[in-house]
């Protein structure tokens, strides 16, 4: 088979021809140039790369994407219906372009900055490009050379933001095969606190497109970020995302990654625990059916002593779907007293689905408590019988048990409105809905 790197993807030409925002910023231009050189060398990763063993970008590499979005007609009403939260600061990106009319980022409380990235590049130097490396096989280089829009969010020290921020990324489907390259930069200063929802959605059921996004997070001492990601794009869409953060001491990062849509969805989530007492929670849920392919790669680096991590990823697979989970926990040398727990549980509902799961641990310190578990199974016949015996029909019983399996991931969410909103979304997406 031909290596993917041998295939000329049109991305490179676009980077050369297109006028990208931030032309006047030297360090940014340099970064883009480096990224371009790296992408020319590396191309898209092939299945021979261990991290991409179960996920092929072949189909993606064969698509010819456009990078010019036509004008889209999206009214305030439709936008509000699409949003996950009613009460929230909202930054809306439609077909890769920031929409000032639809966004609610005026009158922010003091200490909070939410801006479209295209207008804020100059402020991002300390974070942008710092959490991800261009060398890593994947799409970091691609994103860096082509990023055009995104959100810049900054919370100043000691600010506890009262309302959540929702980044609403909408694909209208009006431009066929539109590729969008987004970069979010989230910088939380000492003792500050923020709740953030990244929300990716398609308005048309069968629109083809590519969402390529990297979120870079920087948490200063004692900062806290509740970070939700909900992806329900069209079933013909490609979604490749990286979520990478560096955490200083006593910072807390809760990530919750819910993947429902897209034909191919790939998430790389990476936390570096660089200060003592830092904690990360990485939870995730994927519900896939039909021909969907979802791949979650998580990595937690315990770089210093006394850090903790917790991780639960759950999946429900139906139809011909294919799910991949790879969770890596690395306890570096001298990172004593690390406490890391990881679990991946999968529920298979159909004959033809496939799951590949690989919970990895690399441990270079001795005084640690690390565990991981992973299971693959079906609905319990006895539980089903119990419900049937009480008069519930087969479909409802199955759906109820599936729902019960899935929502465990949401139970650690302390923010009730968000938990409720997410569980509502999950309910509608359950196979053979109640």
């Amino acid at each position: 088979m031909k290596q993917l790197t041998d295939i000329t993807t049109p991305f490179d030409d676009i980077a050369a021809s297109k006028t990208l925002p931030g032309q006047d910023i030297d360090w940014l231009q340099q970064l883009r140039e480096q990224a371009r050189a790296q992408f020319q060398r590396q191309g898209l990763p092939s299945k021979k790369v261990e991290d991409w063993k179960y996920t092929s970008l072949w189909a993606l590499s064969q698509e010819v994407f456009t990078h010019e979005a036509g004008a889209s007609q999206l009214d305030e009403m439709r936008c509000s219906q699409t949003a996950l939260l009613e009460t929230a600061y909202r930054l809306v990106i439609v077909d890769g372009q920031f929409s000032a009319e639809l966004s609610h980022i005026d009158g922010l409380e003091t200490g909070l900055t939410v801006q479209p990235l295209s207008q804020a590049f100059s402020k991002t130097k300390s974070v942008l490009g710092q959490q991800v490396t261009l060398e890593k096989a994947g799409l970091n280089a691609l994103n860096t050379m082509l990023m055009t829009e995104g959100a810049y969010i900054q919370v100043t020290a000691n600010t506890k933001v009262s309302k959540p921020v929702e980044l609403l990324v909408i694909n209208t489907g009006e431009t066929d095969k539109l590729a969008t390259h987004l970069r979010h930069v989230i910088d939380i200063a000492e003792n500050a606190e923020l709740t953030l929802v990244e929300h990716y959605v398609s308005l048309a059921d069968d629109s083809v497109g590519l969402t390529d996004v990297i979120s870079e997070v920087n948490l200063a001492e004692n900062a806290r970020l509740n970070h939700f990601k909900l992806q329900h794009e069209s079933l013909s869409h490609y979604h490749v995302a990286t979520l990478a953060g560096k955490q200083a001491s006593s910072s807390i990062w809760h990530t919750n990654n819910i993947s429902l849509g897209a034909k191919l969805a790939r998430n790389d989530i990476h936390s570096q625990l660089l200060g003592e007492q830092a904690h990360v929670t990485m939870d995730g849920l994927y519900l896939v059916a039909g021909k969907q392919h979802v791949d979650n790669h998580t990595r937690i680096d315990h770089a210093v002593p006394n850090t903790t991590s917790e991780e639960i990823y759950k999946g429900v697979l139906d139809g011909d779907s294919h799910a991949v989970f790879n969770g890596k926990v690395i306890v570096h040398k001298d990172a004593q007293k690390t406490d890391a727990n990881q679990s991946n549980r999968n529920l298979l509902l159909s004959r033809t689905c496939e799951i590949d799961t690989k919970p990895e641990m690399e441990i270079y310190a001795d005084d640690v408590k690390c565990g991981h578990g992973s299971t693959v199974g079906q609905l319990d016949e006895q539980q089903l019988f119990f419900l049937r015996a009480r008069g519930m029909n087969e479909t409802s019983a199955r759906s109820l048990l599936t729902y019960a399996f899935a929502v465990e991931v949401l139970q650690r969410i302390s923010d009730m409105p968000i938990r409720q909103a997410l569980s509502n979304v999950i309910e509608t997406r359950l196979p053979r809905g109640v």
Partner: protein
Amino acid sequence: MTEQSQQLEAITQKEYKAGFVTDIEVDSLPPGLNEDVVRQISLIKNEPEWMLEWRLKAFRHWLTMETPEWAHVHYPAIDYQEISYYSAPKKKTDGPKSLDEVDPELLKTYEKLGVPLDERARLAGVAVDAVFDSVSVSNTFKDKLAEEGILFMPISEAIQEHPELVKKYIGSVVPHKDNFYAALNSAVFTDGSFVYIPKGVRCPMELSTYFRINAANTGQFERTLIIADDDAYVSYLEGCTAPMRDENQLHAAVVELVAMDRAEIKYSTVQNWYPGDENGKGGIYNFVTKRAACRGESSKVSWTQVETGSAITWKYPSVVLQGDNSVGEFYSVAVTNNMQQADTGTKMIHLGKNTSSTIISKGISAGRSQNAYRGLVRIGPNAENARNYTECDSLLMSDTCGAHTFPYIEVKNPTAKVEHEASTSKISEDQLFYCKQRGLDAEDAVSMIVNGFCKQVIRELPMEFAVEAQNLLGLSLEGSVG
């Protein structure tokens, strides 16, 4: 350094006890590898034409392959032209007919290692096909086994006497194209054991063989083939020690097991090759391909291993569960100390219906060693109701060692139930305190805790092996808690 860790340091620094060199005249090929060497080995072995062809095919394929680099181990590149591919103890006219005729130097070697070759063998009920470097020199209990129709002989002999069996099964589980070292082995293997248990026969004794790498700079390429026909049972033991050497020695063995309908094979290994000194100088490279095929329905294969030696261990005893209702088991204790590196685990490939597998892996790392578990559980689309249970635990004994887990789980059938659990921890202060408070010294306490940690695996070993294994564990680890 605390008093306790000083004590323990002293124990972990113990020298390798089986390190001695036996001085016997050796027939060797000069170092180097090319088609002529392959032909020459075949000639020395007086092999039929098809065997030579098979070797050459493997050799030509090997030339096209690249050294695999995915394992979590680091070592300088091996120069395959520097290795001598054949060495045999000097032949006396017709070879030894009884123990008296065996080179006394050789017997002494075995004695030092505690091989029950003579009277002790009968008492222990063990038939030994002792492999000294590459040629088998003595077989015991052959008659007794022959009565039952069991074939237990060096594979070179089997090629002469039972070519139809060898031809049918060799390479059928591990084809020469399988991997780099399997291809190399197929081209240049010099000897190994061959076992055939006919239909309905239960092998009356534990079969065992001792491997010992002796001549300097000879890689040892063993080839073992065990076939259990319908309703047969066999338990095979393999134990290894090697004398002290400063240069790294390559060991690339291939072991193939075939279990037919309702047959059962139990394969136990205690591996104690020279691990190199505390600075990682010397030691054996142990790159082994071990695989079993459960061809028949309701067949069963069980791998049990205690790995304490070798500078680098790289092996994944696997089971391909083809027959319906077949069972695969893997029990492993891997101990690494000083600069040792181990990347070991298993593969369970479920193809048949109602197949089940169990994996229990215990890794213990001390010193500056790296110990990785790498396993694959694959449930094929036709493996209805397949079941797997995996448990891999790591025990860390120093703050400079590493313990890693890379389990791959691939499921293509929804009726499968797969469970994987892993934990990593160290011996807690509380446990130690509890034992010491009851009058055990630190050393015994650690030994007891480690043995408890490994019990699930040790109890799967045949009796006489279990004792040896426990001693080994003690030797390699006693109190390396820091």
